[in-house]
Symmetry: C2
Subunit: 163 residues, 2 copies
Amino acid sequence: VSESDDVRDLVARLADALRPRRAMLATAESCTGGLVAAACTSLAGSSDWFEGGVVSYSNAAKSELLGVAPALIDRHGAVSAEVARAMAEGLLARVPASFAVAVTGIAGPGGGSIASRWARSGSRPLRDPARARRHCCKRAAIARQSATGRSSAPSSRCLHGSR
Amino acid sequence: VSESDDVRDLVARLADALRPRRAMLATAESCTGGLVAAACTSLAGSSDWFEGGVVSYSNAAKSELLGVAPALIDRHGAVSAEVARAMAEGLLARVPASFAVAVTGIAGPGGGSIASRWARSGSRPLRDPARARRHCCKRAAIARQSATGRSSAPSSRCLHGSR
């Protein structure tokens, strides 16, 4: 089973979970740069359950597009559970989605990523169905892990390497 | 030369054009679902010139994340030069980027895409360096064309096919 088959299978399962609930997903990505959204929208019919997303690559974009407070980024760093949470919350405050996933990180050796998944509770984004976790991995691995949901698996492997 | 080599080469040329001008690029994507942003951020050092982007897959996301007026979408349709322009303008009004590219379309047979490239002029997004053009193409072709910039080439090929 190839990596792309893995992603395809996971996106199909995601669609199967969201569609009967009429639930919409939104994505907020930093280091993955749109790959999670692209993986979602690669499935035919994804407009039934994929609302949209933000690629907040720069810190300015995190603030301008998702309302993440610059002071929060200064205090905790862009690659932090606090910023991942703020990205997801900011997204859920802006789009009518039921669930949001946020990924923030730095690609390359020595980089890392934080993934945070949030569900809207009533009109406010409140519930964090999975704890944010820290990983160290190179860009391709971040993208793969994020796209397959493995970035929040308990056993993450450290995948240092050249970018 | 493979398709991914083509995209890599084009992104490298884009970086070479933007970096010496200290110009930042932002992307607003509908049918390409994040693939243009992902292509940009696949290049090491892209944070020097890539600000971020929005994947406004649903009409709600176009309005909520980019400020596209629902009435404009009703009047012209989501796949229109007017909406592509509004996506780019809305993005440039939100992020401190010098250039924006917007792509809107419907994937699959019978679908099509519109790409619009906009440059900020002073503090306001004003100048359209390339006319928006209409294409009919299946999703993979939209993604490839958008990522390589060929979606605004004068001679677009109609690539009807299954999604």
